[in-house]
Each structure stands twice: as C-alpha cells, then as structure tokens.
C-alpha cells in the first residue's frame, strides 16, 4: 500500500505503479511520481528533520523548492549521496535511500534538542558578545563546538562517479515557468514562428495548476489544459520544452543559466546519460512567468511538524492524492487557504476550523465554507500550538485577547498570502517597486530585454494574466525580430477571486513578546530576533539580515524575507520601502558544482599539451613536469636511478658526447613582411636591422615599464621573414603583446605575425658530437663551421623532410636545433636517436637543460628574473641597444628607481662547502646574526649540483651584487647558516671555446 493517507480517487498518480524506498532505514512504498514528501505524508510521516540552531523537530512546510525544513540526505549508493535535498522536490525512485540530517542519535530523540532549552542564551548575534576569553579559546574550543553543531548535511566523502553535461543554446524567446502564464506566453510566441524555449522546474508543466483545482481553461480542468498545451508545444519544431529544469541565474546581456535534472528521478539511469545538464542560454528576449510563493503565518510555535502551507496541503491532496491529516486546522489571512480546506473537505478530511485573522474574508469563500459546513472564525488568530513531534492542537483566541481555545488538530495549514517570485527579475538588475496596496514588491523598471507576466508580475486575475502573457509572447517575439501573430488566447475561469494577505508577526507574536514565532525556519530566526537586531542599532535590512541570518539559509529567504522586512519596518517605525530589500542573487535554488562545471573534469579539466615526441619520451621512461599547459620531459631515469643520478649522468653525457632534447614547447612566432625588422626593432631592446638573413640573435623583450618580459633566439630566414622564439610559458602573451603594438601603435608597418609554435617539432642536439650525429641525415645544408657558424639558421631537409636547422646552443656546447613539421617530429627524433645512441649520447630533459645552461651563466626568464628585473639587473644589459631612438621599454628603463644604485643584480654564488646545494628561493644576508626581521639582500634564483664542475652552483639576485664580487655572504637556513661567495655567472668553460665544438 502506498500509504494510509492516500485517498482513493484523488490525485493524478497511478495506484498500480509503486516503488520502494527507505527513510531512516525503514522501508516505504510510494507511487511513481511521488516526491519524498508526498510519499512520507501518505504514510503519516511528518517529522523529517531538525532545525539548524535549536534542533527543533521539523516537518514538511511546502510542496516546492522554497522548502526550508525537510532537507534529506538522498543516495542511490555510497558514492552517489546528496545532502540537503528538499523532500518536497525530490521524486521517489525505486531503491532510493533517504536519511534525515542534523540529529543525533535519532530524529525523534536528538540530543541537540537541548539547544532549544538554552535558546534564550542563543539570541541573534550572541556569539559576537562572548567566547572571547581566554584569547586562544575561540579557535581551539568554542569554534570547533559551534562548527560541529552547525551545518546541515554531511558532505560526500567519495569522488562523485556521475558525469554532467553542458550546452550553450540560443533562442528568440525564453519562457521561464510553465504555469498558466508561461504556457500562454510560450504558445503565443511559438505561434509567431519564434524559436522558443520553455523551462519549468517541476516534472510536468502546470505550475499552480498542480494544486489549483478551481481553475478551468478553455473548458478543461487547468491541469489537463496545461498538459495538452505542452503536448501542442512539444509538437512544434520551433519550440523546446525542458522540464525538471530550473532557470537559476540571470546574467548580463540576457544570458540565462538553467540546470536540467536528468536522472535523479530514475531508478537505474543509463550510465551514458549525464546526471544533470547545465544550459547556458543567450535569449534575445526573456519572459519570466515564475509565479508566486505562499508565505506562512508568524505565530508562536508555528514550526511544529504537521504545520504547512495551505497550497502545499492542496498540492498533496489534488496532485498526489494524499491527505496531510485527518483533522486539519486552517490559519490564514488570505482567501486561498479556504480553497485548500474545501478540497480537503470534499476529499473526506475533517476541517477543525478555519481561523482567519481578518474580519472580512472574501465573501465567495465564506459562503462556500458555510455550505460545506466548515467552521470559520474570523477576527481570530492561532497564537500557539501544542504537540511534540507533530502538532496536536492549535490555540485560538479572538484578536485583541480573550479566552484561548485549544482545538485538537493533526495538521495545521497556513497562509499569509503570496510573494511574487521576482528573483530572476532582480538578478537581471531590474528595479522593484513596493505596491503598498497589496504589500508586495513588483517589477518596475526593466534593465534587460525581458518582461515578467502573471503572478510574479502581480497580475492576480486569471484572464488578465493570460492576456498579459499572450501579449508578451507576441511582443517579445516581435522585439526578437519575428513578425508573426498568435491565434490562440486561452480563456480561463477561476472559481474565486482571492483577496487578503498580511506581512509580519501575527497576533501574540507582537512587539513585546518573547515567543518563538519563526520567520526563517531553517536558521531558527524568530520575530523577536529581528526586533533585537533593530534594538542593537541594525537599521539597514542588510545589517538585520546579517545579524540575525534571516534569509541566509539554503532557501535564501523565499519564505522569510518579506516577514522579516515587515517586522523590521514596524520596529523601526518606517514604511517598508524605506527599510529596503536584500538582494536576490544567483542561484534561484542551489545548483550542484558538478552541473556548473559540466564537462570540465578529468582530462577535460584543462588541456594537457603534449609534444609530437611525447609518446616516445613516455615509452623511454621520462618523468614529466608541468610548464604552463605543457607536459615537458623532466629527466629520463634509468632503472634504479634517482633523479639526481639521472641528471648527473645526462649532464656528463651531453658535455662529453652529446644529448638530444625536446625543445618543441618553446613559443614560435613567424614575423613576415617588408617591415619585419623595423617592427622587431620596436619590440625588442636589441637592434634587428643589422641581422643578416641566415643568422640568429638572442633578443630581450621588455614591457613599456622596462622590466624583462621575455627572451629568445630570433633567426632571420629572409629579408622579410623572421623566426622568433619565446619562452614556453610566454608564447601566448608575447604574441598578444606584439599584436597589441602592431595593431594599435604601429598599424602603418607592413608586417604580420603567425604563431608557429605547434607547426614545428624542435629537436635540440647539443654536445661535442652534435654535428657528427646530424650531418649524415641532413640534405642541402652545409653544416661545416665555416658556412654554419654559431647562431646561424638554414633551410634544407633532414631524412627527406623539410627542416629549419638552427646552429645555436643553450648548453654552451656546440649545438643544433632541428625544426621539422610536427607530424614528422617523432620519426626524425627516432632517426636522430638511432645515430646518437650508438655514439654514447643520451636523451635529456628540462632539469639537465637547466643545469647546463646555469653552468654557462645563461638566464631563464621567469626563474632568474621576475617582473621587477631590468635587462641590466639580469646581466644582459648588453642586449639593450644604445642607438635606437625608440623601443618598448626605452622610457620605463630610465625611471629614477630603475637606474638607482644598489638594485638587485643577478650574480653567481658558490657555497664555501662545494657539496652543499642551496635551496632555490633561499634568502641571502650579509649578517646572519642580526635579529629578525633581518635585512635581506636577495634570493637564490637557480641552484644545482653541477656534475661537470664537481660542485654546487647558483645564481642569486643580490642588492648591489656586482659590486660584491668575492665577498662572503650568508644563507641562513632553519638548521644551519651557509656561507657563500659572490662570483660571476659563468661556472664552466669560462673562455667559451666549447661552443665551437
């Protein structure tokens, strides 16, 4: 059986289609289409959770996404567990496990409930006033205690095995909400021929028609009309309907984010199907038909399980066929609750009484109540309730005082009226206006290309809402550029026109009371807390919100904001609009991180860029390091070798035989055009017009501020063609920097830039035998020292493949860099290796490259420089042309602090003990015995064991470094102080003869 409270003949679910699920370990039967809330209510289960602060027992308040109380932990297996799920939204599936939260040891007996007794001490903001002594106790004692008590659900501890999808979409008209207004608007827009997207958060269209059985449209019951209309829309080519889809964020320029829940309602989802799909929609026009949310009444102990919104009870009976009680009380300030009572009464449920705080409810509903024999107490209020884990009685008095009648009930349904859902409108940064007559904020000034229709726009009358929606559908389509017309205008009839509504505290919860009349259920914020905040000087609604945490729970104030505002306004004795309104931010309802990141996980988190030789390197045991997006071979350990041993071997081998190195990741830019040299003259500190075709030069690039930006070797292939190289990480920004100047400052120059980083695989062959290895493979290039000296470039072929062959060196030994079109990279690498290996050469990685270049005093931009180092500081001042009248950086370099004495300069340093290798990043001081804070002279930028020098070597940026040659300085480390000597930058082959082989 799907529950004793399931009323035969009521509801729209199919009795035969049952599913099983568990709640707190107990098994229940539900019907397909049930929410957890409806399924549990069918079994008479009202107690679903505990509140945040006082751990009070809580039930189901709503039948929608505004639910603050009934938050459960829902899982299908241990890794697929989702905390804080609204029972009122989650559909039951076969095998689902639901658990209550924030209670221990059990939901019905929760130790944390003691907080409720202590609540006078836990008033709003109490924690600002205590827990300050002793000083360290906040973090060590109080905070851990508060943190454990706070929080709701338990975060998953396993990696999420599900996957998520994302899509960008465009449409002419996006309609949010598939209630009467949304459907009417979507139909009208669709009939004009516009591309329409219609989204609704519920499993089926209908919105308020789910509960509002008093509405007929075009002669059909409202809900049936909604289903027929959706079917009609779905059949149209220009319409996309998405259900279980929440428009959660309205961003700039009509960009609306949606999340579609694809599998959370399925018992056994296909593993290829994404759990959720995020849609990012750019809509030419948006129609928001988001409806309204019913508010609760604010009175003492209004939070007991069994107390719920009237519209929720009506949803449960009319849609799910579930009676939320057998003797139900009604407490209202709005006519709509009467209709809930009528529907329940007609379903055979006893209505204890309708307590209406108003003296004059709508005449229609009053008459109907009378005819149904329902007792109506106008001018009365519920001032308290009884019951432990479920409401057992409502305490009723005449307004203004009098005897209290305790009327036994097993459920109490409440309504203080409806709050238009202006969330998306506010997110779009439209301006609201307060309508004093109806006591609500309504859309006023639009900031984006959108319009609100129906209940969220304050249009209460059914036909007026339909007319407004149809007209919006046509006009929004027209504004989107679609000139069509709509032929359909639905005709709607509602049984009653609703009146009424109130904001703020009800009878018995007024200014001088200390009762617990809840406004924000989840955070346990009561009316008295708002008043306390005001007393403490919090006069801005934002201060009141932050002080009391009203509206900061996971429902983000959907139920509480207006009540809080009204109570604050009363306490401040100011009209509501002068107290203001807190901001509605995205998202409308919480959205999983998984949906937000959609595909960006695992290999798709961030592209891992690999060179054409990567597979070979991997197969040959390379360890890789991350450099920007690139994976670079770091070193190639042989069996049993440590990193240190491998690097030492590689360093030795390169200097004695040769080494082969993958330099493909270096940035490459082809600079082509008659003004190419003139352009490079402006971009680099060096002069380029003097470089002859076939030759290369090392270039330094500064920004306008004079600090080193990048460096690299530039080869001139022809008068009008340069092959520029950049650092690996610098490639994109250098190209952007060059394009910026070319397009913006020097557009008169005839030159173009093309990134060729990935066109070429680059194989560096360095060491005494480099020429011997390569020469037999190369065709059409004379590699002799005479015709191909150091720093030259030639085009020819290698193994039959075109190559740009550079004679250059980043090791100080004779070296070549073979550029071949990337698809050939691995084959040519293998061909070179086939010659190199038998000669005793090695392959080497970036670590060895770093050591070898350091031995020779070559800098690495970004390691030996940071954004505060000039070419002069870095010891490459020679690369700054003294003759040029302009280049980027020429003026910045001359600023007073850039030419000052005592700047940090890059120098070599050697440890007194040659076996000690300094830590990169270590700080250097003159006096190691000075007290802290010490005066630091600079830091170690590069430091290695140099196998070739037989000692450690290092670079450091030292204040006035070049004037300190030969001096002893100190590197104080935690365990010892290391004496060092300042040297020049070159540690190996000081004469530089090896470069010529």
């Amino acid at each position: 059986m799907s529950g004793a409270n399931r009323i035969t003949g009521k509801g729209r679910l199919t009795p035969a289609r049952t599913v099983r699920f568990t709640f707190d370990g107990k098994s229940y039967t539900a019907l397909q289409g049930d929410t957890v809330a409806s399924a549990l209510l069918a079994h008479g289960v009202h107690l679903l959770g505990r509140s945040f602060k006082y751990h009070r027992p809580r039930g189901i308040l709503s039948a929608g996404p505004e639910e603050p109380n009934a938050l459960l932990d829902i899982s299908r297996d241990s890794a697929r567990r989702q905390p804080n799920v609204r029972a009122s939204v989650q559909e039951v599936f076969d095998g689902m496990k639901a658990e209550s939260q924030n209670r221990w040891p059990s939901l019905s007996f929760d130790i944390g409930g003691i907080n409720n007794l202590m609540s006078p001490f836990f008033g709003a903001g109490f924690y600002y006033k205590t827990f300050m002594w002793p000083k360290k106790a906040w973090h060590s004692i109080y905070e851990p205690f508060i943190r454990r008590a706070a929080g709701l659900g338990v975060a998953p501890t396993e990696a999420d095995p599900d996957h998520y999808a994302g899509r960008y979409a465009h449409c002419d008209v996006l309609v949010v909400g598939a209630g009467v207004s949304g459907l009417s608007a979507a139909l009208a827009a669709a009939e004009t021929g516009a591309e329409v997207m219609l989204v609704d958060e519920q499993p089926e269209a209908g919105g308020a028609l789910h509960f509002d059985a008093g509405v007929t449209i075009d002669g059909q019951p409202g809900y049936d009309w909604a289903q027929a209309t959706v079917a009609r829309l779905q059949a149209m080519d220009n319409v996309k309907v998405l259900t279980r889809t929440t428009a959660f964020g309205y961003y700039n320029h009509n960009f609306v984010a949606l999340v579609e829940r694809v599998t959370d309602h399925l018992a056994s989802p296909d593993r290829h199907t994404a759990r959720e799909r995020m849609w990012q929609v750019r809509a030419k026009r948006v129609i928001v038909a988001a409806g309204a949310i019913e508010r609760h009444m604010v009175f003492a102990n209004n939070d007991r399980p069994g107390i719920m919104l009237a519209s929720a009870a009506r949803t449960f009976i009319n849609h799910f066929g579930v009676a939320v009680g057998s003797k139900i009380g009604v407490y209202t300030a709005h006519d709509s609750a009467y209709e809930a009572a009528f529907d329940l009464r007609r379903a055979g449920v006893s209505i204890a009484a309708i307590v209406d705080t108003r003296d004059n409810p709508g005449t229609g509903v009053l008459a109907e109540a009378r005819s149904l024999g329902i007792d109506v107490l106008t001018g009365h209020s519920v001032t308290d309730t009884s019951g432990k884990l479920r409401v057992s009685a409502m305490h009723v008095t005449r307004n203004g005082g009098g005897a209290v009648r305790k009327i036994p009930v097993d459920a109490l349904i409440v309504s203080s009226g409806w709050t238009p859902s202006v969330h998306l409108f506010s997110q779009s940064r439209g301006k609201l206006r307060f309508d004093a007559a109806t006591q609500r904020f309504l859309p006023d000034t639009y900031a984006q290309n959108m319009v609100c229709v129906g209940a969220c726009n304050g249009t209460d009358d059914l036909q007026a809402a339909i007319d407004e929606a149809v007209s919006a559908g046509v006009s929004m389509a027209r504004e989107a550029g679609i000139d069509g017309s709509a032929s359909t205008t639905p005709r709607g009839e509602a049984r009653f026109a609703w009146t009424g509504g109130m904001l703020g505290a009800g009878e018995g919860a007024g200014a001088d009371t200390t009762v617990k009349a809840f406004i924000d259920f989840q955070h346990d914020v009561c009316a008295k807390d708002i008043r306390l905040a005001v007393r403490e000087g919090m006069h801005s609604i934002e201060h009141i919100k932050r002080f009391t945490t009203n509206g900061m729970a996971s429902d983000q104030g959907k139920l509480s904001n207006m009540h809080g505002l009204a109570i604050a306004a009363e306490a401040l004795d100011r009209p509501i609009p002068q107290v203001g309104l807190t901001t509605f931010r995205q998202p409308y309802t919480p959205v999983t991180f998984g949906a937000l990141i959609s595909h960006s996980r695992g290999d798709l988190f961030d592209p891992a860029r690999k060179t054409p030789m990567h597979a070979w390197e991997e197969a040959h045991g390379a360890e890789f390091e991350d450099v920007g997006n690139w994976k670079r071979a770091w070193y190639y350990p042989r069996a049993g070798e440590t990193m240190h041993e491998a690097v030492n071997r590689e360093c030795r081998t390169v200097r004695t035989v040769a080494g082969v190195f993958d330099a493909s990741t270096l940035g490459k830019i082809e600079v082509v055009g008659p003004d190419a040299a003139a352009f490079l003259n402006l971009m680099y500190t060096n002069a380029w017009d003097t470089l002859k075709p076939g030759r290369c030069r090392y270039g330094i690039m500064t920004r306008e501020d004079g600090f080193v930006y990048d460096d690299g070797v530039v080869g001139r292939l022809a008068e009008d063609r340069f092959h520029v190289t950049t650092t690996t990480g610098g490639a994109p920004r250098v190209l952007q920097h060059m394009e910026d100047y070319l397009q913006t400052e020097f557009p008169h120059l005839n030159v173009w830039l093309t990134s060729t980083t990935e066109q070429w695989a680059v194989i560096a062959v360095q060491g005494p035998k480099a020429r011997e290895i390569l020469a037999p493979l190369v065709e059409g290039i004379d590699m002799s020292p005479e015709s191909m000296p150091h720093m030259s470039v030639a085009e020819g072929k290698i193994c039959g493949v075109p190559t740009r062959l550079f004679r250059m060196s980043f090791t100080g030994d004779m070296g070549f860099e073979v550029n071949v079109p990337a698809d050939y990279g691995q084959a040519i690498w293998e061909a070179i290796w086939a010659r190199a290996e038998p000669m005793g050469a090695c392959v080497y990685g970036t670590e060895t490259m770093h050591v070898l270049r350091a031995e020779k005093g070559y800098i690495i931009v970004g390691q030996d420089t940071d954004g505060t180092v000039t070419p002069e500081d870095a010891g490459v001042g020679w690369a700054v042309s003294k003759k040029k009248t302009d280049f980027v950086g020429i003026r910045g370099l001359k600023r007073p602090d850039l030419v000052k004495e005592g700047r940090k300069q890059l120098v070599g340093i050697t440890t007194k003990d040659p076996h000690v290798v300094l830590e990169e990043g270590a700080q250097v001081v003159a006096d190691p015995n000075q007290p802290k804070p010490m005066t630091m002279l600079g830091h170690v930028t590069s430091s290695y064991w140099s196998e070739n020098c037989g000692r450690s070597i290092a670079f450091a940026l030292i204040a006035g470094g070049r004037a300190k040659m030969g001096q002893t300085l100190y590197v104080p480390m935690p365990d010892r102080t290391i004496p060092v000597e300042v040297t020049d930058l070159v540690f190996f082959d000081k004469e530089g003869g090896r470069i010529n082989g």
């Binding site: 006078p120 008033g123 924690y127 600002y128 006033k129 300050m132 000083k135 906040w138 905070e143 943190r147 709701l152 659900g153 975060a155 998953p156 501890t157 990696a159 599900d162 964020g249 700039n252 008295k528 306390l532 403490e536 000087g537 006069h539 801005s540 934002e542 932050r546 945490t549 996971s554 983000q556 995205q586 998202p587 919480p590 999983t592 991180f593 998984g594 990141i597 959609s598 960006s600 996980r601 695992g602 988190f605 891992a608 501020d705 004079g706 600090f707 990480g729 690495i860 970004g862 940071d866 954004g867 007073p896 602090d897 990169e920 990043g921 700080q923 804070p933 630091m936 830091h939 480390m973």
Partner: protein
C-alpha cells in the same frame, strides 16, 4: 559602552534580551569635524577607532554612502595571512595579523579570528621555487610560513587529492599556521561600536558628492547628499569607489575597479579544516562556521561598478575546486555575489599623502584588503593624525608609480617558463 561577556549574555537572556543597547549610534552630522573619513568599511571604521583610541582625535565622522561594512568588507572570503614576499607587504600584513590576534579582546567584540592555517598549494617546480622564496623570506622576517610535503599537506587538510594522476599534481604546499579567517561583519560592527563609544560619528546613507578646497588648495570639507560638512582633514578609504571620490579633488590615482566574485555552498557539517589556495588552478576555499564552503572566484576582465560578473568566472573556479576535491562535485552552490575591487598596477596598496593638502588616501587593496584591515586602519589613523606615513606603511606611497619603485607581488610570483 555596554560590556560584552558571557555574564552579560546570561543576564540579558534572563530579561528576554531586552536590555541590549545599540552597538553604535546614528547621529545627525555636525557642521565640522577634525577628520572626515570617506568610506565606512573595515578600513575606514578602524581608522576612526584608532584615531580616537590612540591619537585622541574623537571629533571624527565616518561617512558611508550605504550601510557600514556593505562594500568589500562584507563581500570577501575573509582570508587572513601575512606570508607575503616584499618587505613593504610583510610589514603591513604582519602588523595586521598581530592586531588580528588580539582584536576580539581589544574591541570587546568577537570577530572570530580563527587561525586555522592558510595553505598554498604548489603544483610545479616553478611554484615550489616561488613558495620557498616566500617561506625563506618570511622566516628571516619573523613570519611563520613553512614548506610541507604533499603527505603533510594531506594530513593537515584531509580532503586534498594528492594523487599523481591529477592534472596538476600537488608537489608540496606552503602553510602559514597563524593565517585563517575571521567574521567579516563583526569587524565592521566591532570597530563601529568601539569608535562610536569614543565619540566618533558614524553616518550612514551619506554619499559624498564633492570635495571642497580652499584657496591654498587644502581641503575644507565635503559636499554630501545631506549637505556640506566641514573637515580639517579628509581620509579616503573608499575601495572600489576611490577613483570616483579622488576625482572630486582632481587627483588621479592608478586604479582600475573590476568585479570580484565569490560563492558559498549549502551548509555542511565540518569537512574542511583550513584555508586552501592554489594560484595555479585558481582556487580559494575554506569552510565557514555555519558550514558553508566559502569559495573565492576571480575578477572579471573589464572595469565595472556593477558588483556582478559573468558566470564563467564562477564555473572556472569551481572547475579547479572539483579537480582538487572531486567529492565536492555533488555539493551545491547556494549563493554567488560580487564586489568591486580597486587594483593598482603592481597589485599593492596605496596609503599616503596626496597632492592635495590634508587629503589622505588608503586604497588599492585589490583582492587582499580584508586581511589588512586592522593593520591598514591602524597605520591610516597614524597617517591622518601625524600627516606622514608610519614606518610600516612608508613604502606604500603614491609616488612609486612615477619613480618605478613598484612592490610587485604578482610579478614576483612570476610566470611559467
């Protein structure tokens, strides 16, 4: 001032919490003040507090165009640390951190400073070099910051994924144990209460529309939406709106204001014990005492005063969070928001005199202003009271952009090579 204590809380509880007084008063503005501070955030309120407390200057007004603490003070992710690289930065942030350590007691207001540790993840050789440079500089400067192996990092922060299969495997971390978080609103309110108690006027909903200057160029006061208010000295501490205010005195400052976004998850039971930052993948995360995961996202790429930005900034940071903590993919974002950050070209703050006599400025804190609050406020008060910067803020002057003596923390972190 009504003293706050556990006894007061109990006493008032017995009386229905009816005896609590306003934390600060809301007086009508006087005709003239000795000092007007423009901007009622933590920095401005704090400066007023220290002017009164330490310099005996109590004829002070803080003018706030909205509600106090409503700017970046109330919109940031509350990270506190002092493990910066350059001496100018270490000086001020460490000064701030020392004040944070006793702030609750000083203010008699629990600002919930929680030294739970700030851990910065290293993902590459380059990160490691950079972090060790920080660790060593901090150590010699007397600031705690330590290098950790991946295993040590995981032990300190169990949710961390230190597997080698990660896209950017973690090869270590730098941890400042004294770093942590504090309750942002409490900072504004605590300073406001302390200042108000000492006679400072806190005037909300008071927007400055002009700065009036005398024939000698010195300031005379401010035009506001509540009329002219005279001032002998003016301190501007208006964060993202500094350019707007300084333009009223014809002073141009090297600032760009852009949106900075952040988000929180739904509340969860304690799972995340410290603050974790990763510059490589762009992630900043901690867990609030209420249980929300607090996540800092990046700045949008354009100038804006709108306090809102693109969703791609949010998703970009969540990509990184979920890469570092794959179990959080099922956690839900509850709220996102934005503030306006004022960035200088070198990403370090400006605090100093201006070309206009008796006009002082404190701005350019960019994304790091909250952690500096007590230190910045304390030194700003000194600057205003004495007319010249305190030794610890002497490097933050405006003229460095002319001379080139930049404090480029961002550049020092450098780039991949």
């Amino acid at each position: 001032m009504q003293k706050y204590s556990i006894f007061a809380v109990v006493r008032e509880a017995m009386r229905g919490n009816k005896g609590w007084k306003a934390q600060w008063t809301s007086p009508e503005p006087r005709k003239e003040y000795d000092v007007i501070i423009i901007g009622g955030g933590g920095h401005g309120l704090g400066a007023a507090y220290y002017l009164a407390k330490e310099h005996g200057i109590t004829n002070v007004a803080v003018l706030e165009k909205g509600w106090i603490g409503g700017g970046n003070t109330g919109r940031n992710t509350t990270i506190i640390r002092s493990n910066y690289l350059y001496e100018e930065s270490m000086d001020i942030y460490e000064h701030a951190l020392k004040l944070w350590e006793g702030l609750s007691q000083d203010l008699n207001y629990n600002v919930m400073y929680s030294p739970r540790g700030v851990m910065m993840l290293s993902h590459s050789v380059h990160d490691q070099q950079s972090f060790k440079r920080h660790v060593n500089a901090n150590r010699l400067y007397g600031i705690d910051n330590e290098w950790m192996t991946p295993e040590q990092a995981k032990a300190y922060c169990p949710p961390l994924d230190i597997s080698k299969s990660a896209r950017y495997p973690i090869n270590g971390a730098a941890l400042q144990r004294r770093g942590g978080t504090a309750r942002h609103d409490a900072v504004a309110w605590g300073y406001a209460r302390g200042a108000s108690d000492r006679g400072v006027h806190i005037i909300q909903n008071c927007e400055v529309t002009g700065i009036r200057r005398g024939p000698d160029g010195a300031v005379l006061g401010v035009e506001t939406n509540r009329g002219f208010i005279g001032a002998k000295k003016i301190g501007v501490s208006a964060a993202g709106h500094t350019s707007v205010v300084m333009n009223m005195a014809d002073v141009r400052v090297p600032l760009q204001s852009s949106p900075l976004q952040a988000l929180v998850s739904e509340p969860l039971k304690p799972i995340f014990p410290c603050v974790v930052m990763s510059n490589t993948v762009h992630a900043y995360i901690s867990q609030s005492d209420k249980g929300e995961l607090v996540i800092g996202a990046g700045t949008d790429q354009y100038n804006s005063y709108s306090q809102t930005g693109g969703i791609q900034i949010i998703t970009h940071t969540l990509d990184a969070i979920c890469e570092l903590f794959p179990m959080f993919r099922r956690v839900k974002m509850m709220r996102q928001w934005g503030g306006i950050v004022d960035n200088t070209p070198d990403r370090s703050a400006i605090q100093g005199v201006t070309p206009v006599k008796n006009l002082f400025v404190n701005c350019g804190w960019g994304t790091g202003g909250f952690k500096a609050t007590p230190g910045s406020a304390h030194l700003f008060a000194h600057l205003i009271a004495r007319g010249e910067p305190h030794r610890l803020a002497a490097g933050l002057t405006l003229d460095r952009f002319r001379t080139g003596r930049l404090i480029d923390e961002a550049a020092a972190a450098a780039v991949a090579h």
